[in-house]
């Protein structure tokens, strides 16, 4: 599912083009030369642990703060000098819900409509459509103070969409949401992409990047350490294996002799055999095991983005001291 847009849209304009972005706060370097190139219509994920520089990148590209060095343009408008033009085509949903807790859901949308200088009829029409689309009709006349986390986030994104942006920044759109709300949010994001909107999202969830993104940039300590499709990133690192589980110690013993390259786990009665991938490799393993092997369970593991992340950054996704 992820990859499709990237494959079907070849010759597209750059939605974001950034070179050498740097940002430091005093001694602390937050961005250390970030280059980004995002095509129009693409879902691009910035993946990294807390403190990697994801939010800072978003804040720079959405004109909230200026980079210390480097240049960037958004949909053809330079950040420096054309900030107004950039703001007219982007929408930003930050990490923390930027909704007005004292206004109702509908009033929040209408407020944004006013600030976009939309005519009154257009304001109301867009607000009504978004309330329906985001399943907020019942909540429209209530203030967000009583909303669930998922509803708040949906209102937040609805506010972002009032201006019909062509590029949307989503900073950790599902952080703090329960699994159901997360899946609703994922579907909303896919729907937006289907309408041709470009999305730059940040996430610390590897699964989320895998699910949504056409391309992923892995950000670590202010540097991009890898860029590619999820499949490309997974291919870059070893870790694929076949996991075999046996009924008893004798069966494990026999299998370990037949497959000496495997790593055995006596406690779990399991054998982990490296797998080059493909049917041939699997067939080879099964053939060497022989017909009589008492295999209880067999599973095939391809490396997930967790493996990718550890392999690329060389460190677990720990939280740095703030």
């Amino acid at each position: 599912m992820g990859g499709m847009n990237a494959l079907t849209k070849h010759a597209t304009r750059a939605a974001v083009s950034a070179t050498g972005l740097r940002k430091a706060y005093g001694e602390k370097v937050v961005l250390d030369g970030v280059d980004l190139s995002i095509d129009e219509g693409e879902v691009f994920a910035l993946l990294g642990p807390n403190g990697a520089g994801k939010t800072t990148t978003i804040r720079i590209l959405s004109t909230l703060i200026a980079a210390d060095a480097g240049t960037a343009s958004v949909l053809g408008h330079a950040l420096r000098g054309e900030a107004g033009a950039v703001r007219a085509v982007i929408g930003v949903t930050g990490q923390f819900s930027a909704v007005d807790d004292l206004l109702t859901g509908e009033e929040n949308l209408l407020l944004i409509g006013r600030l976009l200088h939309l005519p009154a009829a257009e304001r109301r029409a867009r607000a009504a459509r978004l309330l329906e689309r985001f399943d907020l009709i019942e909540a429209a006349r209530q203030t967000p103070a009583i909303y669930s986390g998922g509803m708040k986030r949906r209102l937040d994104i609805a506010m972002t969409l009032m201006g019909r942006p062509r590029l949307i920044f989503l900073d950790e759109p599902t952080t703090g949401l329960d699994p159901r709300s997360r899946h609703i949010m994922w579907q909303l994001i896919r729907d937006l992409v289907a309408e041709g909107v470009t999305i730059l999202l940040t996430t610390q969830y590897l699964e989320e990047a895998d699910q949504l993104a056409d391309r992923i940039a892995v950000l670590d300590r202010g540097r991009i350490v890898a860029v590619g499709t999820p499949a490309e990133l997974k291919r870059r690192i070893p870790g694929a294996h076949i996991q075999l589980r046996f009924a008893d110690a004798a069966a494990l013993e026999a299998a370990a002799r037949a497959l000496p390259e495997g790593t055995r786990d006596d406690e779990e009665l399991a054998l982990r055999v490296p797998n080059q991938g493909g049917i041939a490799s699997l067939r080879d393993v099964l053939a060497r095991l022989g017909d009589g092997a008492a295999v209880e369970d067999l599973s095939i593991h391809t490396p997930d983005l967790d493996d990718v992340f550890f392999a690329l950054t060389g460190n677990p996704a720990e939280e740095p001291a703030k």
């Binding site: 909230l64 819900s97 930027a98 004292l102 201006g163």
Partner: protein, 262 residues
């Protein structure tokens, strides 16, 4: 509407938002009426007698309440500073300012909504407090023109304190901190001014401070207007302070806003 320029339209939008906030969460407005009213009653009924006697000639024979009310009204103006600092800080730390700043919204409008809200709320609170003062025996000698001038001074001083409060709200790390940072404006400066007793009766060190801080000329000017007395040079001094505080607050707020959150 179409003749309004974009910044004016955005300011009106933000002022409308402030209005809704005040209606939806009236606690802060009620608080900035209650505090001066409680002080008024406290000084009129409990502390006022002895203080009035002590004032002697300084009160020029008028009842203490007539001396007191202009001071209470200036405290009412200052009481609004907490509200604006809290509101601005909430917008700044809650992310809604960040949202507006990523939109093609006039930058100035985001704060002028808060500043306008302060001035309008203050006109409401001072009107209510004046009403209470009249009920408990305050008698003004002011002409209609004096009342308008008094209202103008209240508006000017609230405009000045609004910019200062907006700046304090912008630089505060938390809403509680924002409120705390306005406490000197709400309480310390009014008490160390001519609001309750004439500066001349204060201990020497404090007397110098009280005579040279902005609240004293504002209180003195308002007192003269409501007594129907000539305002003299206090009017220029009061307005000069208003202009200076407004400008300093405006520049400070602009710098704090430009720096962004982080």
């Amino acid at each position: 509407m179409t003749t309004l320029t974009i910044p004016a339209r955005d300011s009106a939008t933000m002022l409308g938002r402030e209005f809704k906030h005040t209606i939806r969460f009236p606690l802060l407005l009620v608080g900035s009426i209650l505090v001066p009213v409680v002080l008024l009653l406290l000084f009129v009924y409990i502390l006022g007698g002895p203080i009035g006697h002590g004032l002697g000639d300084a009160a020029r024979g008028a009842p203490y309440i007539d001396f007191l009310v202009p001071g209470i009204l200036v405290i009412t103006v200052a009481a609004g500073s907490g509200t604006t600092a809290i509101n601005v800080c909430t917008d700044m730390t809650g992310g809604i300012f960040d949202r507006f700043r990523t939109m093609a919204v006039s930058r100035g409008a985001l704060l002028t909504g808060h500043v306008g809200g302060y001035v309008l709320r203050t006109l409401v609170t001072t009107t209510v407090v004046t009403g209470v003062a009249l009920l408990v025996g305050f008698r003004a000698q002011a002409s209609v023109a004096d009342w308008f001038a008094a209202a103008g001074l209240v508006a000017a001083f609230s405009f000045a304190l609004a910019w200062l409060s907006a700046a304090l709200g912008l630089v505060a790390k938390s809403v509680a901190g924002a409120n705390g940072s306005t406490l000197p404006i709400q309480f310390l400066l009014p008490f160390l001014s001519s609001a309750f007793v004439p500066v001349a009766l204060m201990p020497v060190g404090i007397r110098w401070f009280a005579a040279h801080q902005p609240f004293t000329p504002v209180v003195d000017c308002l007192r003269a207007l409501l007594a129907g007395a000539p305002v003299g040079h206090t009017a220029y001094l009061a307005l000069a302070w208003c202009a200076a505080i407004a400008l300093a607050g405006y520049l400070w707020a602009g710098a704090a806003f430009g720096r962004g959150t982080r």
